[in-house]
């Protein structure tokens, strides 16, 4: 374990670490963009399958959700292992999650709703499945918008409180996924289970911290 930690810490400290993470986040978007190009130009009309918009919505939605849950996994891993350098990519992953969510919403607005504001509002107001998705997206929009160093300085302690909303966004995104299914909810339930594990670890860490604080207070 100690040996592993040495290797991991060396990797995290490497100059290549950040560019590799960034490239890994970008690659799915590039691959998808290439398939959109092939399908749109007719170079390969079936590049995105028979229902291209459905493919785009599913892929960008999954990418956004997995990056969001990965973002939330950083702190527990760091706290449990002490690989503190991981913290440096948390914001990057979070912003990339927003980027995929933005592609997801753009596909919905452009291909499904043809930019019709009344149609979008009808969906948001009347269809809980869409309401949940839009709630998650709106939170990510605010969080991405306040992710700059200047915002962090400006908001001070309020920044952390605001950014705890990321848990609400993750829960809303998973509910959006569940409610989007016709009958087979096995996959979204796996995501929900993972999110529950993340919540449990967070609660566990918070309880441990409080207990230590209490112990420190009573120990003479």
């Amino acid at each position: 374990m100690r040996r592993l930690s040495v290797i991991v810490n060396a990797a995290l400290a490497s100059r290549a670490f950040y560019p590799v993470v960034w490239l890994a986040c970008l690659t799915p978007a590039l691959l998808l963009g290439w398939r959109v190009y092939e399908a749109f130009t007719g170079a390969d009309p079936s590049a995105l399958g028979v229902n291209p918009t459905e493919t785009l919505l599913h892929m960008t939605g999954r990418d956004a959700l997995s990056l969001l849950l990965l973002t939330l996994t950083i702190t527990p891993i760091r706290r449990l292992t002490g690989w503190n350098r991981l913290q440096s990519i948390r914001r990057t992953l979070g912003v990339w999650s927003f980027a995929y969510a933005l592609m997801h919403v753009t596909c919905y607005v452009v291909f499904d709703q043809l930019g019709d504001i009344a149609g979008i509002w009808d969906d948001v107001a009347n269809r809980p499945f869409i309401t949940m998705g839009m709630l998650a997206f709106s939170i990510l929009l605010v969080l991405a918008g306040t992710s700059t160093n200047a915002s962090i300085r400006w908001l001070g302690r309020r920044w952390q409180r605001l950014h705890r909303l990321v848990y609400v966004a993750a829960a809303a995104a998973v509910v959006h996924f569940v409610w989007g299914q016709k009958a087979d909810i096995r996959e979204p339930l796996e995501w929900a289970a993972y999110l529950a594990v993340l919540f449990a670890i967070r609660i566990g860490l918070a309880v441990r911290k409080r207990r230590r604080a209490v112990q420190a207070a009573v120990t003479p």
């Binding site: 007719g42 028979v50 229902n51 918009t53 499945f129 016709k182 009958a183 087979d184 096995r186």
Partner: protein, 323 residues
């Protein structure tokens, strides 16, 4: 609209080796290499039968001039129709039926006819379908998920099938049951839906000349993933009303409970007529994506555009309540 021009590299679909035959050839090679002569001979025999079956898959029919492709309704390709399917018996992903339905045994096939009918019994496909009367009809197929395709089906009017077994006047509904065979239908090993799949129609809907009993498409015997060997197509209703791989036809005086209504009664009703004015609880039904189009820019028509022929079936009914 995406236009595809055929290049010399594109194989016509008829020249593609079907997966089961491909697999049986692989099997033959493998067993042959192993040097087990008996098994190799058996595999060779199986390979031979499969190729004979392949030769028989063309199906002659007369095009019905009333239902043909038009500029607004251009045909989807055979590949599109046979690789993007909702057939939960094989899995809930659209590609699952094409992937897994090859293993389904469709010969021999029998259909149990019972309930309020003068000639109950067990029938073969040839007993129910008059192969000399086969016609080709191009129908719009509108899924409840707001996408649609245009498909050249081959079959006979459903009424001609039902008339062969003599429904009693007391029968006001007819129920269609899909095959339940988990050993060949992997989706049925999960409980994502209640099995077997059941659908039903009011008797006057089933006897309507538009209601079609399908055994083929694109001049070929129906591929398994599309509901072989026998399926319904009711073009003015959402796709889930059209049961596939039918093994039982039951005549009754009580409205059948269809599978999707059992699964989510607030989302799927018994009638399920295509209706742009009644939104699904999770999406509007006002527009549809005519696949493989990106944009959901085809306005959905009342009764999927067949209103002039079927609207009279529902005179005086509140279609918002009876969705």
């Amino acid at each position: 609209m995406i236009l595809k021009t055929r290049t010399s590299a594109d194989l016509p679909w008829s020249e593609v080796t079907p997966e089961p035959i491909y697999r049986s050839r692989r099997e033959f090679l493998r067993t042959g290499v192993a040097g087990i002569t008996g098994a190799a001979v058996a595999a060779l025999a199986a390979c031979g039968t499969a190729e004979v079956a392949e030769a028989q898959t063309t199906l002659a029919s007369t095009p019905n001039p009333k239902y043909v492709a038009t500029a607004a309704d251009t045909l989807n390709t055979f590949e599109q129709i046979t690789t993007y399917n909702n057939f939960y018996e094989f899995g809930s992903e659209k590609g699952d039926p094409a992937k897994y339905a090859g293993k389904l045994t469709v010969k021999p096939w029998s259909v149990k006819v019972d309930g309020m009918v003068s000639k109950p019994g067990t029938y073969g496909v040839e007993d129910l379908v008059d192969f000399k009367a086969l016609e080709e009809r191009v129908y719009r197929h509108r899924c409840v998920e707001a996408w649609s395709m245009v498909i050249p089906w081959i079959g006979v009017p459903l009424a001609s099938v039902l008339n062969k077994v003599g429904p009693m006047p007391s029968a006001t509904f007819v129920e269609f049951t899909t095959l339940e065979r988990p050993s060949e239908m992997p989706g049925q090993r999960t409980n994502i839906l209640q099995w077997p799949y059941v659908e039903g129609l009011r008797m006057d809907e089933a006897m309507h000349p538009l209601a079609f009993m399908v055994i083929g498409l694109y001049g070929k015997v129906l591929p398994n993933q599309n509901g072989a060997p026998l399926r319904i197509h009711v073009p003015w209703k959402y796709g889930f009303k059209s049961g596939k791989s039918i093994v039982r036809i039951r005549f009754t005086s009580r409205q059948p409970l269809n599978t999707w209504q059992i699964a989510a009664p607030n989302e799927y009703g018994f009638y399920a007529n295509v209706n742009p004015n009644v939104p699904h609880p999770r999406w509007s039904q006002a527009h549809e994506r005519r696949l493989p189009n990106f944009f959901s820019n085809t306005p959905t028509q009342m009764f999927n555009g067949y209103g002039d022929q079927v609207a009279s079936l529902y005179t005086g009914m509140d279609l918002k309540k009876n969705f």
